[in-house]
Amino acid sequence: MSRLLEVRDLTHSYLTRTGEEVEALRKVSLEVGAGEFVAIVGHNGSGKSTLAKHLNALLLPSTGVVFVDGLDTSVPENLWEVRQRVGMVFQNPDNQLVATTVEEDVAFGPENLGVPSAEIRKRVDEALAVVEMSEFATRPPHNLSGGQKQRVAIAGVLAMRPKCIVLDEPTAMLDPKGRQEVLRTVQRLNAEESMTVVWITHFMNEAAQADRVLVMQEGRIAIEGSPRQVFSRVEELKELHLDVPQVTELAFLLNKAGLPVSPELLCEEELVSILVDKLAG
């Protein structure tokens, strides 16, 4: 897997209104391979969003470097290249849609890039097809559900033909159905189009779907690994006030009580089949 994003010793500090210096990121290093699906979890103020905003040069490092597809984000000439390669989707679907119809909204990005209109038409149609929103092309976006709005926002990013999508709590304001829609859409993009995905979330069942999970705490990456590895560290996660999937927590409790069950478990079928073996008869 070739490297698409590289973050090296990234520190980001800013001044509050009262003049205090806050270190939002402290020497964070990270690599994301092309086609990888990485989830970032951690509670508010842990530095997740600040990190995400460095991945498409919405923020620039105080110290350290960020490379996107080999481009240094702090070099001003690279700015548009970087933004075209890494698209962002934010939390509030109502703040991201700007046009009066869905298709105009999706066309907004490529129009700004000066893409010829026939090519824009093609990109908009393709992007809406990928997020399964083609039938809504001429509708006004404000009548859509939250999940549909987020899919349109994703289509708007796709129309820029990026290599990576960074989604900053894209499901936080959605109901369970909307969350499913958005997650499935992004999973499909990742699987079928090899889109690189950085997915920031508070929902552990979403993070469990990623190839790799990063847990952020106080501006640092506190825990990193596959979802199984990360979630099996139940006590540390609880200390950080993060959720653990119930199945993992149950396996952890059984393990602690001396039952031969590994806490590296994520889905209920796995746990059931292990327990049936041990408890039957």
Partner: protein, 289 residues
């Protein structure tokens, strides 16, 4: 009539944009009874009628042909004191921090009781008590600007603003939406404590079965404008197939326990926490050994 009940709802129906081509029914013959001090969770998908329903309970939407009694009083009667009703039934909307508008925390929380005619020491007492209930330190926070507060603090200010009216029924519409797990747990603990300390009747609208499992005495499931299922969480979660068909699902541990039973392992599936589930399995394990 119905004096012993905190809330009684009979035959409540509501149609948005009634008598127009856009008419869409939002509630169909809803009936409900809530006892004083009960903790009721209202769950259902977006568009199932939850929010429309709760807006009826403090008179934001008129009852129409249906009837609602709050503390024995029919709120659909002509001449009902709506101001008094809204004092009695406190409603915390979704994203309540969007409704915090005063320049200081004190002024925001004082807004309701001030409108009720309280002033001076009595007003201060009301605000102090409300802040105490949501564990915001009075001296540290009263002069702060809401703009300087964190999401969780802001949400507590909004809840305190409703508590300052000293309602006997508190309705919260998805009070944890958009919060991180730590802040979410803090707010839920807050609500649980409030319920046990004040004995208030609480109605909590939620999307999370795990949340509901921990808190509620009674879970009411809305679907398509009607009450589809209801019961205490332990019993309700046994109907996992029906809940799944309604697009809601049950907590993961229930699925594990049911999975075991389906494979012939006798465990009690009526669990609410991972610890209860673990205890069941461990017990069974020792029996086998």
């Amino acid at each position: 009539m119905n004096v012993e009940k905190a809330i009684v709802v009979r035959n409540l129906s509501y149609t948005y944009q009634a008598n127009t081509p856009l008419a869409s029914p939002a509630l169909r013959n809803v009936e409900m009874e809530v006892l004083p001090g009960q903790f009721v969770a209202i769950i259902g998908q977006t568009g199932s009628g939850k929010s429309t329903f709760i807006q009826h309970l403090n008179g934001l939407i008129p009852t129409g042909p249906g009837r609602i009694w709050i503390d024995g009083q029919d709120i659909g009667l002509k001449g009902t004191n709506l101001k008094g009703l809204r004092q009695k039934v406190g409603l915390v909307f979704q994203y309540p921090e969007h409704q915090v508008f005063e320049e200081t925390v004190f002024a925001d929380i004082a807004f309701g009781p001030k409108n009720q005619g309280y002033s001076g020491e009595l007003l201060v007492e009301k605000v102090r008590r409300a802040m105490g209930l949501v564990q915001l330190d009075y001296d540290a926070f009263r002069e702060r600007s809401p703009l300087e507060l964190s999401g969780g603090q802001l949400r507590r200010v909004a809840i305190a603003g409703v508590l300052a009216m000293e309602p006997s029924i508190m309705i919260l519409d998805e009070p944890t939406a958009g919060l991180d797990p730590k802040t979410r747990d803090e707010i839920l603990e807050q609500i649980a404590r409030l319920h046990s300390e004040t004995g208030m009747t609480v109605l909590l609208v939620s999307h999370s079965m795990e949340e509901v499992a921990r808190l509620a005495d009674l879970v009411v499931v809305f679907h398509d404008g009607a009450i589809a299922l209801q019961g205490p969480p332990r019993e309700l979660f046994q109907r996992d197939a029906e809940l799944t068909a309604l697009g809601l699902g049950v907590p993961q541990i229930i699925r594990v326990m049911k999975g075991l039973v389906n494979q012939g392992i006798a465990v009690d599936t009526r669990v609410l926490t991972t610890q209860e589930a673990a205890d069941q399995i461990i017990q069974r394990w020792h029996k086998n050994a």
